[in-house]
Symmetry: C2
Subunit: 140 residues, 2 copies
Amino acid sequence: MFKEEQIIKICKQNKWRLTEPRLEVLRIISLSKNPIKAYDILKKLANKIKNPKPPTAYRAIQFWQKHKFIHRIESLNAYQACSHGHSHVGAQFLICDDCGKVIESNLHEIPEILKKSTENKTFKPLRWNLEINGLCNQCS
Amino acid sequence: MFKEEQIIKICKQNKWRLTEPRLEVLRIISLSKNPIKAYDILKKLANKIKNPKPPTAYRAIQFWQKHKFIHRIESLNAYQACSHGHSHVGAQFLICDDCGKVIESNLHEIPEILKKSTENKTFKPLRWNLEINGLCNQCS
DNA sequence: TATTAAATGTTATATTATTACATAAAAAAA
DNA sequence: TTTTTTTATGTAATAATATAACATTTAATA
Ligand SMILES: [Zn+2]
Ligand SMILES: [Zn+2]
Ligand SMILES: [Zn+2]
Ligand SMILES: [Zn+2]
């Protein structure tokens, strides 16, 4: 969704420091076809940075998560670039059990449903994550 | 939701072997107020079984997951007894960020929404997991 | 320039989960 | 019942995922 220049611009605007490990980690995640795991990010990072250690990868991951440019797919322990504009409270993913592809598909109806259900139950929702497993069109 | 006798009965009916580690692990999870982590299950299991090792806990967890008596709360790496009748394709959890309580709240509207969105996208959903973070009524 | 704040480098370790193989128990077949 | 097969467990080792702690560097700001 985001080109690198856009991200650089957004970071500058917000005075977020766009350091080398951060930029390289974002590139690695963005270029990955499917969600990528932290230690695979780390391996690829080794091509760009001398002998990187886990905290280097995890800190960069955390940075991009905090600013909503990437998502963590909880059921896969893996990370994927946001494809829906970098700031939504809820996320929805269609995960293909066969090929591992993950399609981000943020429905705006979901919040309404939540609102209803949670008003009744007096639970105040702040953010959510929906992971749907199944088969993509390629695989079914 | 389930009393132990019911579970024993269901296991017998289905010829699922209800061994000691399985039964003790189910009790530990059921008695836990909040979702409980695998290694905390293991610690409690040590009060019942001599020097249990991780596979003992994980195998029992897997057994109860397979038969849908417990859920894994993905964002917490923790397990909780199913409170909605042991066989639904989708699950929804309200997770309190403050006290850690998790309310299972399986809306039946959700599948309809999914159906629509996924028909368009030609993705065939098989199961799903929705985790909503926020504040429970006690904590807000 | 000096001071402070933020980020990184590095080592170690914590947490979560699985593999592999031997043994035991239960179910099924003979 | 005995034998055979299947399923489950015990145990040791290790894999996979993630964080803590502290020294050093880099950038922001005073
Ligand atoms: Zn997104
Ligand atoms: Zn697929
Ligand atoms: Zn349930
Ligand atoms: Zn609460």
